[in-house]
């Protein structure tokens, strides 16, 4: 009996191709997607390039050299306001640099300012301020390390150079007493005893001078010190709970997609039990039906997101009412795009089961790539670029601009534009796929 049950179960699995795929292929697919997303960092062997901007208020040789070392490191990518001004040390003002950080165009701004303690020295040791965006919690720490390393390397180079100059100056008159090309022995044998003594005395004097050079060099190197680096969180300082603002959007968008696709499956159920046929035998057209469903999904999506952010406000101190206009616009547009996506998926699929597994794969992949699960700054640059093709990335960027960066609505033009376009394209595709249910 048990054998028969096992046999029947295997036969049913074999005949149900969708279940077969879900059981054996989908896990491999998911593993591959996640391995690709997070494993690709290992292949490059380096952290993704961090976008920074430098503001050099001193413009000394030391700060310029520090900047050059940072640029040469390859781990930082410097933002250029204007290529023509790129070489100018004060190309970017402190205010402009801070604005770039606030707008999310760079991860941090490196500001070299004069050290108030010792402004009179020839190459004053700068005070470095890292104006960081704590949205990327790793970036500021990495940048601090890089700046420390670059600054100390630059100081060491200058110390070495200064020491070399001093030594050269000290050695200049003595070197004239030496004979060239190793002909010392041959020459000494040809000298008179008095001349030989004179040369040996000169050699001893030279040895003493070498000892002085070494002391000079050590003296210069000992002047190298760790630069004073201050990290300023330009975005997160005034926020009650910055992490909530960051993750609320990610989770909201992912669940918006899940709930919309589940609800859109009703159209497949209606087709299966002939309710769709009956609906279309009435005054209703397919356009009415899709628009009705779209409006419903948008309303549910807006309600769902509002409830989630309200919970964030109630329990985690999220500043919802301070950004109500941006939240309303962003939620409406995101819910619209999610509704269109869900209807397109439903119109593409033949059965509710098929819709279930296809949408699960797609939504989880998009959420992983788009930053709903793991912040995108942790991904490699290639994956971050791929993430731009996902619906989630744009929605998350929009919400982050509102709640994290506190930017005005005008700064959301790109995100809103992309989401509205997505919404339109998806609903048009849904209508095209739905023609198979239309009058044929």
């Amino acid at each position: 009996m048990i054998r028969t049950i096992i046999h029947i179960s295997f036969l049913r699995l074999w005949h149900n191709k969708a279940e077969l795929l879900l059981t054996f292929i989908v896990p491999i697919l998911f593993f591959s997607i996640f391995a690709w997303i997070f494993g690709s960092r290992g292949n490059s062997g380096a952290t993704p390039q961090l976008k920074v901007v430098a503001c050099d208020e001193i413009g000394s040789l030391l700060t310029q050299r520090t900047r050059e070392i940072l640029e040469a490191s390859g781990s930082l990518r410097f933002h250029r306001m204007d290529k023509s001004l790129a070489t100018s040390p004060k190309a970017v003002s402190r205010e402009a640099a801070e604005s770039l950080v606030r707008r999310g165009l760079v991860s941090a701004a490196i500001v070299f300012s004069s050290s108030p303690s010792d402004p009179s020295t020839e190459t004053p040791l700068p005070t470095v301020e890292i104006m960081a965006d704590s949205f990327d919690q790793v970036a500021s720490q990495v940048i601090v390390a890089f700046v420390q390393k670059a600054s100390m390397t630059a100081q060491a180079e200058f110390a070495h150079q200064n020491a070399s100059n001093t030594i050269r100056m000290q050695q200049q008159p003595t070197q004239a007493g030496f004979l060239e090309d190793g002909r010392e022995a041959q020459t000494l044998s040809n000298l008179t005893p008095d001349e030989t003594l004179a040369v040996k005395a000169a050699a001893m004097s030279s040895s003493q001078q070498a000892m002085t050079t070494s002391e000079t060099l050590s003296g210069n190197l000992s002047s190298i010190s760790i630069p004073q680096i201050t990290v300023i969180d330009v975005l997160g300082t005034n926020k009650t709970n910055p992490v909530v603002a960051m993750y609320a959007a990610g989770i909201a968008v992912m669940f918006l997609l899940f709930s919309a696709t589940t609800a859109s499956g009703a159209i497949l159920e209606e087709r299966e039990n002939s309710t769709l046929e009956r609906l279309l035998c009435s005054r209703m057209t397919m356009d009415h039906l899709l628009m009705g469903k779209w409006c419903y999904l948008v309303m549910i999506g807006c309600l769902q997101t509002t409830l989630m952010f309200t919970a964030g406000w109630l329990f985690f101190g999220l500043n919802l009412f301070g950004h109500l206009d941006g939240f309303a616009v962003m939620t409406l547009v995101t819910a619209g795009a999610a509704a269109s996506f869900a209807l397109m998926m439903a119109a593409m699929c033949k059965t509710r089961t098929q819709l279930g597994w296809v949408s699960t794969i797609l939504i989880l992949s998009m959420s992983a790539l788009g930053g709903s699960m793991v912040p995108r700054y942790l991904m490699s640059e290639t994956i971050q670029s791929v993430g731009q093709f996902t619906f989630n990335a744009w929605a998350l960027d929009g919400y982050n601009k509102i709640f994290w960066r506190e930017l005005p609505l005008t700064e959301l033009k790109t995100e809103l534009g992309v989401l509205v376009t997505c919404s339109f394209v998806f609903i048009v595709l849904a209508r095209i796929f739905a023609t198979r249910w239309d009058r044929v």
């Binding site: 039990n273 002939s274 046929e277 009956r278 279309l280 009435s282 005054r283 209703m284 009058r439 044929v440």
Partner: protein, 324 residues
């Protein structure tokens, strides 16, 4: 056996053809192909107002395609379909049409009342008219006391009644029912036909597709049989019987022993291994037949009298071969 009798609807005695009034439903040379398959091959049909028509045919004959064409759900390659003289593709024409699909096309997670209101609105009913029609429907289907219950909790018969009610709320002049009694018990079936009687009495034209030939025979006053996308029989049941298998009663006989001579009007059916005789007046002809069999050396061990019915007509016209 392949159908060998093709009746032209217009020539069937007793058919309800009228040239003076606008027909409730009119199909003129309707053709539709799906790839190489010709689903409808020039269907001509005229259904007068108030008629109850049974649309019969074996699986794959083209019934569903025809019903969907009547409901405006598929485009036809050629011909015309009109409801009260108006093309079926017009939105206004659809208001005159009620559709009851074979599947339970209602929302199981809505109550009876919510289902009725929803489908009423879809057919343009609003306000007082909607409330009046919903109240009427609840009474008509006998589910007033269950109006706040979710329909998914109902029995098959109750769901069927709600399914029908949703199709007639807007008082359609033509009602198309696709196998409305599938999977229901005799009591529910009886109730459903009572409901259809009421609609018919109110002047609604009813087009019913079914595989229950006894239902078609008892509930409809006109039978249309289609096969291979063509109308192969059309008329009242009596006329169809007369023109196909004949109205004579069939006597099925099992005989032991060998008949020494052939008996007029007694034929051997090798497939069923019985003798068949046709009699017009059993009281007069049957004793003579039995006498002759005995005289020829046969002994009748079993006898069955069979009056020709729609089943015989159907099998006669469409054959016994299995379809899709």
């Amino acid at each position: 056996m392949v159908a060998d009798v093709h009746l032209d609807a217009s020539k069937v005695p007793g058919s309800f053809h009228s040239t003076t009034l606008t027909p409730a439903l009119e199909l003129l040379n309707v053709r539709r192909s799906f790839g190489k398959t010709q689903a409808l091959q020039g269907i001509d049909l005229r259904v007068e107002s108030g008629q109850r028509l049974a649309l019969l045919g074996p699986n794959g004959a083209g019934k569903t395609t025809l019903v969907r064409a009547i409901c405006g759900r598929i485009r036809i390659d050629q011909g015309e379909i009109k409801i009260f003289g108006e093309s079926v593709i017009k939105a206004s024409t659809l208001d005159q049409l009620g559709v009851v699909p074979q599947d339970l096309a209602i929302y199981g997670d809505l109550t009876t009342l919510e289902n009725l209101r929803a489908f009423g609105r879809l057919h343009g009913l609003t306000g007082k008219e909607l409330r009046f029609r919903v109240d009427w429907a609840l009474e008509w289907i006998g589910l007033e006391d269950r109006k706040h219950h979710l329909t998914k909790s109902f029995s098959g018969g109750m769901k069927r009644r709600v399914n029908i009610a949703c199709g007639v709320l807007h008082r359609p002049k033509v009602l198309v029912l696709d196998e409305p009694t599938v999977g229901v018990d005799p009591q529910s079936r009886h109730r459903i036909f009572e409901m259809l009687d009421e609609l018919s009495a109110g002047g609604t034209t009813i087009i019913l597709t079914t595989h229950h030939l006894d239902e078609a025979q008892s509930q409809c006053d006109r039978i249309v049989i289609i096969d291979h996308g063509q109308v192969i029989a059309d008329g009242a049941i009596a006329d169809l019987i007369e023109h196909t298998v004949g109205s004579e009663r069939q006597v099925h006989l099992r005989i032991e022993g060998f008949l020494t001579a052939s008996i007029p009007n007694l034929e051997w059916d090798p497939s069923r291994e019985i003798f068949i005789a046709a009699v017009n007046d059993p009281a007069e002809e049957l004793p003579c037949l039995l006498q002759r069999i005995r005289l020829c050396g046969g002994s009748v061990v079993d006898l069955e009298m069979h009056q020709p019915n729609l089943h015989d007509v159907f099998i006669h016209l469409t054959g016994r071969e299995l379809r899709e």
